[in-house]
């Protein structure tokens, strides 16, 4: 028996709204996006493979993924801590700090980029303290981690916060009344409940960080093999009119992005299953 595509409904407008959604989605997103894959299909396998595995490109993957991973890990730890503090404690300025969490979403990446560079450059507020100690932050991989930590900051906080707020207190009370210390209660009762949301938030931060461009290019210094992220390499290839090379690297990035999207979807399913 054929399953029906759409359930019966008395509301009007399905044809119009669904049709327009598919039309606009195809026009703006699907057809343009497929251009990358079709263009890449014109390359021979050898061309593709030598481009995406050349030493300079490999160095950029290591930097992009390494820095994004470290930034996501920093955000996992501090994002959880910030979410905990915002949900569980009352203190002066709580509302204020809660509302500025989303700043990295609202602030243009180029603004964040030049502001962070000004702070961490050798003459900057923090950079001038670290420079005599021999620690280079701006124009070094550490600077890239700082920029990516900034852009990824809201993800963990905002995914953990609602889960933490909905957590029922009964299990914690039971654990406490049975003599568990606060640390034991956190480790055995709370942490397993919020772990899926911490992982989802970190995965979102990681996915965002891998593709990030604006906030990184100012602070990174963009030295080939050393501080050159993968998105910057695409821009460099385009500026040299090497469209084939840019397309090949873009395909690698797109495949990784789609894989991340899949992982995030699975993680989110895990979160909702745990919640109800």
């Amino acid at each position: 028996m054929l399953l029906k595509f759409k359930q019966q409904s008395v509301l009007p407008g399905f044809g119009l709204s669904f049709g327009y959604t598919i039309f606009y989605l195809s026009l703006i997103v699907l057809i343009p996006l497929s251009a990358v894959f079709i263009s890449a299909g014109r390359l021979t396998w050898d061309q593709f493979w030598t481009t995406v595995t050349s030493p300079r490109v490999l160095a950029s993957y290591r930097l992009s993924f390494g820095a994004s991973f470290i930034a996501a890990a920093i955000n996992a730890v501090f994002g959880l801590l910030v979410a905990w503090v915002l949900v569980r404690y009352q203190f002066k300025g709580r509302k204020f700090f809660d509302s500025i969490i989303d700043l990295p979403f609202a602030l243009p990446t180029a603004v964040a980029g030049i502001a962070l560079t000004a702070i961490y450059a050798p003459t900057g507020w923090i950079g001038s303290f670290l420079e005599p100690l021999g620690i280079k932050t701006a124009f070094a991989p550490v600077g890239i981690v700082i920029a990516l930590t900034f852009t990824g900051l809201p993800f963990v906080v905002r995914t953990v916060q609602p889960v933490l707020a909905d957590l029922s207190k009964e299990n914690e009370e039971a654990a406490a009344s049975l003599g568990a210390t606060r640390f034991q209660t956190f480790k055995k009762i709370i942490f397993p409940e919020i772990l899926p949301s911490v992982l989802t938030g970190s995965a979102l931060a990681f996915a965002r960080a891998v593709g990030e461009y604006g906030s990184v290019v100012f602070i990174s210094g963009n030295m080939p093999m050393k501080t050159e992220i993968t998105p910057l390499l695409i821009v460099t290839k385009l500026e040299q009119f090497d469209y084939a090379g840019a397309t090949a690297i873009a395909v690698v990035m797109l495949v990784i992005s789609f894989a991340m999207l899949l992982i995030i979807n699975l993680l989110q399913r895990w979160v909702t299953r745990n919640q109800f």
């Binding site: 509301l11 801590l81 030049i114 900051l153």
Partner: protein, 291 residues
């Protein structure tokens, strides 16, 4: 051990007060370092040479043309995505059909794509050596390295924002009110404007603000398609980059401060909308609009 110490307002023992103090201090230091310090840096650098130099940086012709281009781009991209967002949310939230999950994932795609790749796809389509390149050259139409390319890339980047805000909101509201209106004889459009629109207005406003914030601030995608022609194809973020690379730091940070103030407005409206939500939507048990 007192079990009450896990409650927010409960009296706390000395030990847990110490734990609270340590955790709150770490959180504030972290947020101060990563969020407040960059904000302070923007305004300090912008005002480094005094208020006169600050104001002067907004009156250069290049800055004015960058502001104009940014506003034009936003004024085209946001309404396009607004119409789409409402249509998509209506189809997805009010009807049941197969493949809904896939459709939602496809709508999210631009979030997953690196801004640089988002710009690249339009170069591949409309660039000189792109698919439509020869045809466009023949007909003397410029898309890439001109305003249409900037608008297209911005529309792509901001594509999901309004739909993403509206879908969970409209799903949580169900279809009973619309059904009642239809039974009472209202037409489809009338039902939408009199029932649905008032119910979603705050979510819609927040979606539009988020979409505008991103449209104004987009850097990577626009940077790839713009061609960086001064006074012609520079949006505000690209203008900041040029000023910065020319060591005009006061100019760069002055323009940056303008965008920062817009970011404040975005956050303020978000707070107001969330407050309105919790007031308006108390009858709807489920506040699924945290994103």
């Amino acid at each position: 051990m007192k079990i009450t110490k896990y409650y927010k307002h409960a009296k706390t023992s000395g030990q847990s007060r110490l734990a609270k103090w340590i955790l709150v201090t770490i959180a504030i230091l972290f947020l101060g370092l990563f969020l407040l310090l960059p904000l302070i840096a923007v305004f300090t650098e912008a005002l480094r040479n005094g208020i006169r130099a600050y104001v002067a940086s907004f009156t250069t012709p290049d800055t004015i043309s960058a502001i104009r281009l940014t506003l034009i781009t936003t004024a085209i991209a946001v309404p396009l995505n607004l119409v789409f967002g409402v249509a998509a949310a209506w189809a997805i939230a009010k009807f049941d059909f197969r493949g809904k999950g896939i459709l939602i994932t496809l709508i999210d795609l631009p979030f997953a794509v690196s801004p640089v790749v988002s710009g690249l796809i339009f170069i591949l389509l409309f660039g000189l050596h792109g698919w439509f390149g020869p045809w466009l050259t023949e007909h003397n139409i410029k898309i890439v390295f001109a305003i249409p390319g900037i608008v297209l890339a911005t529309t792509f980047i901001t594509f999901p924002f309004i739909a993403r805000e509206l879908i969970p909101l409209m799903q949580s509201q169900g279809t009973e009110e619309e059904q009642a209106a239809l039974v009472l004889g209202a037409g489809g459009w009338r039902t939408f404007f009199r029932i649905t629109l008032p119910n979603i207005k705050w979510g819609l406003l927040y979606g539009v603000i988020l979409c505008s914030a991103r449209a104004i601030g987009e850097f990577g995608a626009v940077s790839v398609v713009s061609g960086h022609i001064r006074g012609q194809t520079n949006t505000l973020p690209l203008h900041i980059e040029i000023l910065y690379n020319e060591y005009d730091f006061v100019g760069a940070f002055s323009v940056a401060s303008l965008l920062t103030m817009f970011a404040f407005v975005t956050l303020l409206i978000k707070s107001i909308v969330e407050w309105k939500f919790s007031k308006d939507l108390q009858e709807y048990s489920n506040d699924s609009n945290r994103s």
